[in-house]
Subunit: 160 residues, 2 copies
Amino acid sequence: MSNKQIETPDVNKISAQALYLGNQICFPLYAASRLTNQLYTPLLKEMGLTYPQYLVMMVLWQYKQMTVNEICSKLVLETNTVTPLLKRLEQKGMIARRRSIEDERIVIVSLSEKGTNLRDSALEIPSKIVANFSGSQISKEEMLAFKETIWKLLGVLKTK
Amino acid sequence: MSNKQIETPDVNKISAQALYLGNQICFPLYAASRLTNQLYTPLLKEMGLTYPQYLVMMVLWQYKQMTVNEICSKLVLETNTVTPLLKRLEQKGMIARRRSIEDERIVIVSLSEKGTNLRDSALEIPSKIVANFSGSQISKEEMLAFKETIWKLLGVLKTK
DNA sequence: GAAATATGAATCGTATACGATATAAACGAA
DNA sequence: TTCGTTTATATCGTATACGATTCATATTTC
């Protein structure tokens, strides 16, 4: 007992400190992710979208047409999340879903006219979001470095 | 019509590019947050915890006792998320909840013996998580800078 | 000190997330 | 060509998240 205390006190202290919330890195990631989501919410509400729905629309505005799998891949989400999400977007008349003729397993998702037109309203969103950080402690350079690392981090995580 | 096209083409192009998923900053934040969560899942499953539950336990391991509001504040979550989460932790015998005698509105959350002991198993989790990034493209310095910025970012977001 | 207000939790409804499983269609090997 | 395997979606169950509301208990104000 006293033996163990003599052998590993430093390691124990380090481990213990690592368990403090303030020393974590995943927790602020998680909290910031939720809070940025909340930043979008009022802007997207006007358009009748949630944040994940907005992400799907962004994919479709960029690629016009995507299979469910392709959308999942872009958003790093599983079909069990995306399928019901797409159903809600379809119910709102934003998108259309149809089975591929060549391969009946594949569902092709495309924009409706309403969904296509919605892009015009969406164009002003990114600048409105960025505006939240213009006067803050975080410089443009720091933000750019952060952006680079978070994308790198996502790349690493996708391989896990 | 041609007037508008002449006046603002650059702005339009910039706005359009900002809508590409690959140029976003909130999206990789959101995706990385979910993926790091999944990194914890198998480790926490052995302890019978989810990631948000683990966060609550971390708060309690550090502060021994907290009101519901204090936990909410630490985790930047609302009571409508935390209350049911605490009920599940209570059902698993990890924590105890009791009303304050001085102020009957306040619920004080404390660790059970089982919950206290669980900390020993949790001590090895942070290093296991960090190990995922040791061989990656991201240097220690870059990770430290990232950690600093994400905490700063969270600070800014909390004021919004 | 009673009514108005504020505060701390809880409840409700909707929309994610995701592990696990199911289903149907294509593909592949014997 | 037929049966086992793979692939693309969908379904199911559980646990978050969170805006909006409710409820009970202080606190404040007149």
